[in-house]
């Protein structure tokens, strides 16, 4: 657990420090880091359980709901960007 926490902290520092970078490369590296960390954590659990506790997973799902609504809204021509 300590290793994963350290990795996440490094990743967040990296993300903060590279906020000003215009190129997509910095953001992609951050994304790549997040995916690798998640995969590593998953493999480390050796198929025993889902490595995320229930409540954080539920919160993440709640956050994902509005994002998942964007494509149908966009398709219907009713997204929030229309006023800009």
């Amino acid at each position: 657990m300590k290793g994963a926490a350290l990795g996440l902290a490094i990743l967040l520092f990296f993300g903060t420090l590279t906020l000003w970078v215009e190129e997509r490369l910095a953001w992609s590296l951050f994304q790549l880091g997040a995916f690798l960390l998640a995969g590593w954590r998953l493999v480390k659990m050796r198929w025993r359980q889902v490595p995320v506790p229930f409540w954080p997973l539920a919160a993440a799902c709640c956050c994902a709901v509005p994002a998942s609504l964007a494509p149908p809204e966009h398709g219907a021509g009713a997204d929030l960007q229309r006023g800009s």
Binding site: E23, R24, L25, Q31, R48
Partner: protein, 402 residues
């Protein structure tokens, strides 16, 4: 006695879920890398690199960068812009650029369609303004005025370019006001400035009178510019009316004017704020001469190196033609004995001298027209050196001569 907690068994379902998650993560990582690579290519200096970028990841912004590069190299950016607009149909920026480029390429139907789409998608000024411009270039008056009106409805800031287009399409001030413009006071103010600058004084007079009836502080610049231009054109009646309304509503700190009774001078005691517009004093700071209002006086400092003749301060006078007027004032040397050379003069708008002071700050004249210029000037007396020092001018009074 301690007992070990039972370890969960790795069931096939769990393994399947974990493998699926790993697969999704791997695809996402691959996609992130692909986007980074495409972005890197699209920032290249070669068109070929940017073309490779849109092949790697066909995104709207990448097509836009490709269009920019093609445009730079003198090619046709229309297909790339069309792809960008297609991939991001709600982006008005792409639509506007595509519309403008299509018009330049002579594809008017494509241009109109995209500019209309941009104006429908956006509630901002720019797409409507561009569409009005498009119809102006096509000399489609109906389309132009429809979209010019829509632009005026939401316009903020400077609309003088759009007013100029309206004028060039149909130079009829009343018609424009009734049919093309919005009723918003922001637009009315700018229209007043526009008409004043275009020397459409009659139309400006009507609008200025209406604005001044319910004037607020934001109306002052436009109304004062109207007063300046109308006075310069020799039409003082409406500026007097507007000026008096502004004074009555306390937007201006001066007494009202009444040319019929000789109340034609503004701020003869120099104790109000310096406005420098309308009927107020304009101070001419020239080389060697500086003026400032101070404790109910106008203090003029001469360096001794000023020109032999120079204007120090002036203001417009609204007068009664044929009326006889007397001007009185006090000149006092602050650090000199006698302020020789400082005198009052009256000019008409053509610059002809109507009267000039002959003795110590007093002047009598008959007004030949309804607007004159009262000027405080310096002229080096024959046989004297240039004035050096400070002179105080106070208690300037103008009235009907008995």
């Amino acid at each position: 006695m301690r007992t070990e907690a039972p370890q969960p068994v790795a069931s096939p379902v769990r393994i399947l879920i974990h493998c699926s998650i790993l697969l999704v993560l791997a695809v996402a990582a691959l996609w992130a890398g692909r986007l980074a690579w495409a972005d890197h290519l699209s920032r290249g200096s070669q068109v070929a690199d940017r073309q490779r970028a849109v092949r790697v990841a066909p995104g709207a912004s990448l097509y836009e960068r490709l269009a920019e590069k093609i445009e730079e190299t003198g090619g046709d950016p229309l297909p790339a812009l069309a792809h960008a607009a297609e991939l991001d149909p709600a982006n008005t920026e792409y639509r506007m650029r595509l519309g403008l480029r299509a018009e330049m390429a002579g594809q008017f139907d494509v241009a109109e369609r995209n500019l209309l789409a941009a104006a429908r998608l956006s509630r901002l000024y720019q797409p409507r303004y561009l569409l009005a411009q498009y119809y102006f270039r096509r000399q489609n008056a109906d389309g132009f005025f429809q979209w010019a009106h829509a632009a005026f409805d939401i316009a903020y800031g400077d609309v003088l370019p759009l007013l100029d287009l309206c004028w060039r399409m149909r130079p009829e001030p009343e018609w424009l006001r009734a049919h093309a413009l919005s009723t918003r006071p922001e637009i009315a103010r700018q229209y007043l400035v526009f008409l004043s600058r275009r020397r459409q004084i009659e139309a400006a007079e009507v609008l200025a009178r209406q604005l001044s009836e319910s004037a607020v502080a934001a109306d002052l610049p436009a109304l004062l510019e109207f007063c300046d231009r109308s006075l310069a054109a020799g039409r003082p009646a409406h500026p007097v009316e507007v000026w008096n309304r502004l004074c009555m509503s306390r937007l201006l700190p001066f007494e009202e004017l009444d040319p019929a009774t000789g109340a034609s001078l503004t701020d003869g005691s120099f104790d109000r704020g310096a406005l420098g517009q309308g009927f107020d004093w304009r101070l001419n700071d020239t080389d060697g001469v500086t003026s400032r209002r101070m404790k109910g006086e106008l203090r003029v400092t001469f360096s001794g190196r000023q020109a032999e003749w120079c204007a120090v301060a002036w203001q417009y006078l609204a007068t009664r033609p044929g009326g006889s007027y007397r001007l009185r004032s006090e000149f006092r040397g602050v650090d000199i004995d006698s302020p020789d050379g400082l005198c009052w003069k009256i000019y008409d708008l053509a610059g002809r001298r109507v009267a000039a002071e002959t003795s110590g700050g007093n002047l009598t004249f008959v007004a030949p027209s309804d607007v004159l210029v009262l000027m405080l000037s310096y002229q080096r007396p024959m046989g004297s050196p240039r004035l050096a020092g400070t002179v105080a001018v106070a208690q300037v009074e103008l009235g009907i001569a008995r």
